[in-house]
Symmetry: C2
Subunit: 370 residues, 2 copies
């Protein structure tokens, strides 16, 4: 079974619409929709696959997503030829943003990342603030500057406090999840329902300018040091595809508040890599994250904050404990990105012949504007 990630594609002769990547073809979901393939799916309403984003489909919820995937997977297994009329060669497709992202939130959920960076700033004794083990620390990011993999990255300028181009341009290896369906203002999402609001995952690079960040981040957090660009995959891997790779979280250092108490296995075994100029510089795993996506979402909404289908929530930099598993250059303490460097994130899950593939998510550094 292939990953079958969702995306939005067009061709030279047809407008943007929804599809599933299947090897080197895209399965045209809008064509299947028009041909009535989903008309018996309970809750399937409107023409969600014939729109230029997946937002409407993300509102429909897990029972619909499961049934749609089931229909496609069964057909591919039993008689793939019936789907051939809906195949478009991937090489002929133009890929678009899979969703209209309303808000982008970024967490800070990797213990090893937070501890290593905190130690650099405040020493190992005070590496973690008292809140870190009690709640998934996060902040609001900038959605306007999210771009698809392959988009170049212009080196940003800022104050460090001297004004100029950043000398400490960094990548951040992250996974993000897309919200669906929306929730209601004033009503927190209970932790045991949080995954019902997670449509799927994307690989994500939250580019950062460390010297600008160091000068600006007190007391309101990172701002221009991160808002210049965030790169994501054009493909969204549905949670369904990851079920075979579900695993437990690492043990938490203290029992969290009731609203964050995980009912079950809440993490996933996903191998993560960073390649710079064709060389692998980092290997780690999503399963090292301290806080789960469900905990992140329960915390995000405990205040009553609403979330909307298409919103993206990043994990924060994912770093393992060992040397070579650092999710950003800051932790490696061995220099930063140069103009012309190409950074590529990769992610996959693999087990007994089953393979789920994300990304890649890549970007090339352009020199600062004069």
């Amino acid at each position: 079974m292939s990953t079958l990630p969702y995306g939005i594609f067009s061709t030279r002769t047809s407008p943007p619409r929804a599809g599933l990547k299947h090897g080197d073809v895209v399965i045209d979901l809008s064509g299947m929709e028009r041909a009535g393939w989903f008309s018996d799916v309970k809750g399937f309403a409107g023409e969600p696959f014939s729109q230029s984003t997946l937002n409407a489909y993300m509102e429909l919820g897990r029972p619909v997503w499961k049934e749609v995937r089931h229909i496609v997977v069964e057909s591919l297994h039993s008689n793939p030829r019936v789907l051939h009329p809906f195949f478009a060669p991937l090489a002929d497709c133009i890929l678009h943003h899979p969703a209209r992202i309303g808000d982008y939130t970024d967490f800070y959920s990797s213990y090893h990342h937070a501890f290593r960076v905190g130690s650099m700033f405040r020493g190992p004794e005070n590496a973690l603030n008292p809140n870190w083990t009690k709640l998934p620390v996060g902040y609001h990011g900038r959605s306007s500057s999210i771009r698809l993999s392959g988009t170049d990255v212009r080196r940003p300028k800022g104050q460090t406090p001297e004004f100029g181009a950043t000398k400490k341009l960094d990548f951040e290896l992250e996974m993000g999840f897309y919200i669906g369906p929306s929730s209601t203002l004033g009503t927190p999402i209970p932790i045991d329902q949080a995954e019902d609001h997670i449509f799927g995952l994307t690989l994500l690079n939250d580019w950062s300018a460390r010297d600008i960040q160091a000068f600006e981040y007190q007391p309101l957090g990172p701002f221009t040091a991160k808002n210049f660009q965030t790169s994501i995959s054009p493909w969204i891997v549905p949670l369904e595809a990851l079920e075979p790779f579900r695993c437990t979280l690492p043990p938490q250092k203290e029992k969290p508040a009731e609203y964050l108490a995980e009912p079950a296995s809440a993490s996933f075994d996903i191998s993560l890599e960073v390649w710079v100029n064709g060389q692998c510089v980092t290997q780690t795993n999503f399963n090292t994250l301290y806080w789960s996506m469900a905990q992140q979402l329960a915390h995000h909404t405990i205040s009553g904050c609403d979330v909307r289908a298409g919103d993206v929530m990043g994990s924060g930099t994912i770093s393992g404990e060992e040397p070579g598993s650092e999710g950003c250059l800051l932790e490696k303490n061995n220099g930063f990105l140069n103009d012309g460097d190409v950074v590529e994130l990769r992610a996959y899950s693999e087990k007994r012949g089953l393979r789920v593939d994300f990304g890649p998510v890549s970007g090339r550094i352009l020199p600062a504007l004069i």
Copy 2:
């Protein structure tokens, strides 16, 4: 001349469309558009007033906005009866969000607010971080939970670190501006062009839970303490209406970097008030802000971050120096909001018979969910 703020309205029998408030009527701009009133305006394209948000109109730019306003103002002066066919009684109108807000940013640009709050946390010697006088500190807020004036506010829950309903619910008296037209990723907006990207202003209340904020804000800034709701006016006051009230910024304590150097008068004389349960508790003025809107926008984009028509940028709490001019209860050090309290922000500019009116922006506190 009246303020003529822009909004989106519908009636029981007609869909959302653009209008201008004029006393107790709304001037139906979509009707004027269909009747050809704007067909000679250079750059007026599509049917921006017949849409359910002002985003498309915000893309058109200042020359169009000026000319449209000129046409309406001239008609109201010379022969208002020609506009009567486009009048809808305000009492019959349902008001909607004036724009689809992509991203919401909040600054921290009041010196007296930053100094007073900083003194409470770190003493007067260290009240301001070294970055404060060098750049307009800001952070990304949450756009999903922005609601129109009159929407009740549910008391949020969170960790302080004890889990429960906030005991320190506060208002924040702010002004916000709407972006238009959009800018380009990778290209900063020069300060002398920044106002060309400011469509108009709104009054804004950035509700805050101070005990939750104090525990969560290190190191990435406020998150659930502010994301539960932000209240705005349904009306946007165009920059054109405020020209008679333009004034200079207070003297800046040090010369900012070149990209923040203001070319001219960059502030506005706008009286601001907070009323709690019918009693005025705060009086101050927009002209006390240290950083201008143009400086905020130039800084926001210096990294290359793009902005989109409809984005909102808040000033941060606006406080004067004197007792009675504090823009939030935290600074008054005299208790916080109770369930049932009604907070109303008011704003106006007045001079020689000319009056520009914002708001009001109000909200009533509902008890926390059990």
